[in-house]
Symmetry: D2
Subunit: 140 residues, 4 copies
């Protein structure tokens, strides 16, 4: 199982919170997406905006996302997001995102993504492509 | 299984789309949340902003959300969101949200929510409360 | 002064509101942007996603936005947004957006936009292009 | 004129950008709001979530916002936001927000805010209150 983990710390902003004073759920999925880009940047040394060109792909398309909201996360809360690829398959992979406050798990999230490229024979077609072994190795 | 279904039609906006020209994932979770409020309004005849007061609860707290993104949904796409409570439990329930384009499923989503109230003996405590039978009956 | 006005009605959603229970300011600018696209669709009969191709332009680039927030707009409020081009210049124009609740002005907003096209001699260059007279006439 | 300036550095995220590959305008107003909170925290030493309680106010209500978008800001861009109170009046003030990329001004924004408190004689009424001299002094 890949063990490379990317962590970042954020402080919850006013505009991320709803009338209950806690983070509105869609905001967590914004955080997950950004953390996935940053996880890949940290593992591969390639900036998000260069990822496609660098590997000859369209991107790492999101095909699924989920989260369990275990504790309310309030305006001003200091959170940590720890992100890790939990499984690589041939052309897709799962990322887990765990948000903690002072070490306690508050949001348990995940994404499924596909290594997406243009078809070699028909550039108008887009689809899943095999993830290069050297990419997977960097998450070891 | 509750069969009451709330449907609404939307056209995808420029600001909901990412540099790939398709809806950014967090926007679907915004749509789900609003559809859940509107589903309850349609079933119960109570406006979202009156739901808490009407039933003596804090709200219908979101404790889980998920989506599978099956087809890209582009700027300008005409979508339909069909939302339905798929299961009521004692104090929690699941809502399924299916987004279709011209009848084809594009996003298959869901939420888990809790009927949340103040504790009768200690108003500072908030927690799950039994969902009234007459509420469940309206979704029949 | 162009008099063609596009009006739409919205109900404020939970996820658009902040911990004060009122619309978070950035959400109004989302509404303005969508109303501008819809104003052009209504005046020109061209769908937003076809606007660029139809007129041989890149788009109607936003170069300025502003709003005065006169009254709080709460969760569940029924609002109307009335949008109108207040001035056409050679290659730019201003759109005013007035949000009312039960006829009372709540938000007084505006945008400045540029009719943006690729340079005819150098397609890598993008810049302001003259707005066709027949476009302006449709807003009469 | 107050000279205290708060600066922060951000990298533009995928989800902040639109199909043109540049930041969608509403996202800048999110950044401005957060920078205003952080400017006050930096000047006053009070965390955003404690500001109301600390000064006996409701908050620093936003009554106006504006921005000129001078240069496109792309996915992955490294930006700096410099925020400063440009003028204090009796019970309101203006904040200017300048976003630069490598020292070049890309977005020139501003907000108007009101020092907002409950009426001393009628707690149901909310309105502008005089800004304490010691608050203004901290921005000197």
């Amino acid at each position: 199982m890949p063990s490379f983990t990317f962590r970042r710390q954020l402080t919850i902003e006013w505009g991320q919170c709803d009338p209950a004073g806690i983070v509105f759920n869609s905001r967590f999925f914004e955080m997950f997406d950004t953390s996935s880009w940053l996880l890949f940047e940290a593992a591969l040394g390639v900036k998000p905006q260069d990822l496609g060109r660098h590997f000859g792909i369209i991107g790492i398309a999101l095909v699924g996302a989920r989260a369990d909201f275990l504790k309310p996360v309030r305006f001003g809360a200091a959170i940590e997001i720890a992100s890790r690829v939990s499984e690589f398959r041939r052309s897709s992979f799962d990322v887990e995102h765990k948000i903690t406050i002072a070490g306690e798990l508050a949001v348990d999230g995940g994404e499924s993504r596909v290594w997406t490229a243009r078809n070699k024979d028909d550039a108008d077609k887009i689809g899943a492509a095999p993830i290069p072994a050297e990419v997977i190795a960097r998450f070891g």
